[in-house]
């Protein structure tokens, strides 16, 4: 998916004003050898509280290639990157780059702005974001390393909040993510990674021969790492309206689902040693079918690109998350 990205130009300034950064951006665009128009679809604001998180996010964004072109604003705490860690009023350390790539023979460019935010500004980060957002496009805020507090000023600018429950501490973070999702549209990258399992499980009940069994599921076994198995169990419990007692959850390296219904059984499991998942349905003394799916790339760029195509409230996920809380051992994971 990722097309190579080249840096068409860059600029860097220490202790500069926002206006200077905006001028630098405009200047880079003017001097760019690429076409006179651009296609932009998103404003992505990245909040990284550590240098490591900032690096991971930057790599993921570079990995988007020409997809989801737009402007990325990376907010890192002053002192975590290079440059001075001074904290002088309305000045920031900034770097700007113009990135170009090619999608289906077309030049596409994106702009990336990194600002190191001093303590003095921490309570007014929204005032740093606004000047940089491209008009008419959604503002997506990605909290890379930790969850925002309820009054985090960045949330004021956000149309959509991206999180990755896996990074945030899985089940331990679920209650706070659930809380956040009451007030904001939240998209969880981990949920996106579970889509293959969900789709396969749903597909098991397609068609007249199999559909009736979806209301006759009596027991469900879910395996996998902590976060995924709880999310999937929460999902199945909320969709199928099953009590907690119908579930057995056990830790495993890979996710698997086994649904026992009256008169039929259904399974979704990773194929041994392969990057594919097999789903099978079998009606006792009746028809059966199997379905195989190759897992998509598990990388962060893929998850990010995928999440950016689904910037909307996902009630099914919200209910799954709340359902997962029921399975979480009391007092945390």
């Amino acid at each position: 998916m990722a097309e190579p990205v080249t840096e068409l130009g860059s600029w860097r300034g220490e202790q500069v004003k926002v206006g200077q950064v905006l001028d630098a951006l405009a200047d880079l665009r003017r001097r760019s050898p690429m076409g006179a128009t651009r296609t932009s679809v998103v404003n992505l604001v990245v909040v990284a509280r550590t240098g490591d998180a900032a690096d991971r996010a930057a790599a993921a964004i570079a990995g988007l290639g020409g997809r989801h072109p737009g402007r990325t604003l990376m907010l890192v705490p002053a002192g975590s990157g290079s440059g001075s860690n001074g904290d002088s009023g309305d000045k920031v350390d900034a770097s700007v780059s113009l990135l170009g790539s090619e999608v289906e023979g077309h030049d596409v460019w994106s702009e990336q702005v990194t600002l190191s935010v001093g303590r003095a500004m921490a309570h007014h980060t929204d005032s740093l974001i606004e000047p940089f957002t491209l008009p008419d496009l959604p503002v997506v805020v990605w909290f890379v390393s930790d969850l925002p507090l309820a009054d985090d000023p960045v949330l004021r600018s956000a149309d959509v909040v991206l999180v990755d429950s896996k990074v945030l501490g899985d089940v331990g973070a679920f209650p706070r993510i659930a809380e956040l999702s009451r007030r904001h549209i939240v998209v969880d990258l981990s949920w996106g990674r579970l889509r293959p399992w969900r789709e396969l499980a749903a597909g098991l009940f397609d068609g007249r021969a199999f559909a009736p069994f979806v209301t006759r599921v009596r027991h469900v076994d879910v395996t996998g790492k902590e976060g995924p198995r709880h999310l999937l169990a929460g999902w199945l419990a909320s969709r199928l309206e099953l009590p907690r007692s119908a579930f057995s959850l056990s830790p495993a390296r890979h996710v698997s689902l086994a649904l026992a219904a009256e008169g039929a059984s259904f399974e979704v499991a990773r194929e041994d040693g392969k990057r594919s998942v097999r789903a099978s349905a079998s009606v006792d003394g009746g028809p059966s079918h199997t379905d195989v799916l190759t897992l998509p790339d598990a990388s962060l760029p893929w998850s990010l690109a995928d999440a950016l195509t689904r910037l909307e409230r996902d009630r099914v996920w919200e209910q799954a998350l709340r359902g997962a809380l029921v399975f979480a051992p009391a007092g945390g994971p």
Binding site: A202, G203, D206, A211, R239, H289
Partner: protein, 503 residues
């Protein structure tokens, strides 16, 4: 679907085929391996096919299930796990279409598949055979009682490939044969052009935006040019092409479909009936030429030797399977008029050809000049009229040409173009035309298929031209391969004071 699947709630793959069997007639052929199977593989990888799904191939070539499976795997570059798993369930029936045994065997296989896989009696037949056997297959299916669904909510559909007849008369005959066995609502006539994203996007552009539709008419549009250019020659299909020509092969279907989408009025709903009703109305408004007028409005061309994309290529008459004195057209240009309020007086120039400099399809609207240019003549030298270009292939997108001031002290104005490219704006992969259409047929959405009255209207437009071409004195203008067609085509526009665009 009988029951709601609570697990499917919120799933993105809202367009997923229901459990069904796809029966491909002519499964040993070119279309099957080159188009249908790759499209199915993409659908499988994209999670668009149900788990309860099966392909049954039918053709005269003797093969066992395993041979057919091996062939369908071998033809794929890098088969995915999903495709391998799917193919391992494929079935094959060998037999002649004139023999009832073939269909009895097919019936048995279908019953087995429905019982073992839970495909629920749902069948889509796909006729990937030469058209001369369409009627025969349809009749045989009906004779075995296989052309109608059971009374249990299952479906039976049949997909047929172009050409739908050779002229109005034979198209009506084919329809009568099909209708003897299938209802019109079961018949899905493919024009793969309609499966292309950008062709569909003509509808989105026109009917989802408030700014285009108001200028989409004679008041603002000076003329429209539709270009369907291919760089390829006829290749090995020379003998087929001899009996077809550009008029039947491209104009009657693809060009007129694109034209209909460009001309049509806004439908009340973007659904099968809404769109197709409006397309038929649009085609009905196209001025039908009399045979005598054809000479004045239509240019018929054929390529000579030349150079295309860096290689020297033979003349059409030197191609394999082509007569040395062939008069078959490999190029056609025509001027069309549309008799309705929206378009009266706006010429539609249409051209299509093989061995043109590049593969390129577009619909271009050229707008009127501004009533008065308040700039000096020398300041507007680089300024052309506004144009809105819908690029259909290869580089799908939209270009808007408009005048902008050249930076500097003087007030010089020049045309610039603003370019929107699909690939760049959306992350979603654009589905191939066959992928889209196969899925539509399985889902049961006939919007992008051709209804019988559309076929008929299209032939009404084409018939007089066919008749004029049949006259041995009708000129065939020759053009060098690798050029944009014969000079006569330029004259068609010259006399109106216009020029073909250079795409």
């Amino acid at each position: 679907m009988t029951e709601q699947n609570p697990l499917a709630e919120g799933a993105e793959s809202d367009r997923r085929a229901p459990p069904c069997v796809l029966v491909v007639f002519g499964a040993s052929g070119d279309l099957t391996t080159r188009k249908l199977m790759p499209a199915l593989a993409e659908l499988a990888d994209g999670r668009r096919l149900p788990a309860a799904f099966c392909v049954v191939g039918v053709a005269r070539t003797e093969m066992a299930d395993e041979d057919f499976q091996a062939r369908m795997l071998a033809d794929m570059d890098k088969p995915s796990a999903a495709w391998e798993s799917l193919v391992s369930g494929f079935r094959y029936v060998a037999g002649d279409y004139s023999h009832p045994d073939t269909f009895a065997a097919l019936k048995r296989v279908l019953a087995e598949v429905h019982a073992a896989r839970g495909t629920g009696g749902n069948v889509v037949y796909y006729l990937a055979t030469p058209p001369q056997v369409f009627g025969e297959v349809a009749a045989a299916l009906a004779a075995e009682g296989m052309s109608k669904p059971e009374d249990d909510g299952s479906f039976v559909r049949i997909v047929i490939e172009k050409p739908y007849g050779r002229d109005l008369g034979s198209a009506r005959e084919l329809d009568a044969q099909m209708h003897a066995s299938f209802d019109e609502s079961q018949i899905y006539r493919i024009d793969h052009y309609l499966g292309k994203e950008t062709v569909q996007n003509v509808l989105a552009l026109r009917f989802a935006n408030a700014i285009f539709e108001p200028i989409w008419n004679r008041r603002y549009v000076d003329h429209v040019q539709i270009t369907v250019a291919e760089s390829l020659g006829v290749g090995h299909r020379g003998s087929f092409y001899e009996g077809a020509g550009a008029l039947r092969d491209i104009v009657q279907n693809h060009v007129l479909q694109v034209l209909a989408l460009t001309l049509m009025e806004p439908p009340a709903t973007i659904d099968a009936q809404g769109i197709r009703d409006e397309k038929v109305k649009a085609l009905r408004a196209v001025d039908i030429l009399s045979v005598d007028e054809v000479g004045n409005e239509v240019v018929r061309g054929q390529y000579d030797r030349g150079w295309v994309e860096g290689g020297e290529v033979p003349a059409y008459r030197e191609e394999e399977g082509v007569a040395a004195d062939s008069r078959t057209e490999t190029y056609m240009a025509m001027r069309m008029q549309v008799d309705n309020w929206r378009w009266a007086g706006v010429p539609f120039y249409v051209r299509t050809g093989k061995r043109l400099p590049k593969r390129y399809t577009e619909v271009a609207m050229e707008f009127h000049d501004v009533p008065h240019l308040p700039f000096g003549r020398k300041d507007t030298r680089g300024l052309g009229p506004n144009a809105l270009v819908l690029r259909i292939q290869p580089d799908e997108g939209i270009t808007l040409r408009f005048g902008a001031k050249v930076p500097g002290q003087a007030f010089r104005v020049r045309s610039t173009s603003m370019d929107f490219s699909y690939g760049a704006a959306f992350m979603e992969e654009t589905p191939e035309a066959y992928e889209r259409l196969l899925l539509d047929a399985m889902v049961g959405d006939p919007t992008l298929f051709i209804r019988t009255d559309e076929v008929e209207q299209a032939w009404r437009i084409v018939d007089p031209i066919l008749e004029a071409f049949a006259d041995p004195s009708f000129p065939v203008a020759h053009y060098q391969a690798g050029t944009w067609g014969p000079r006569e085509a330029d004259r068609l526009l010259d006399r109106d004071g216009r020029r073909w665009r250079s795409p």
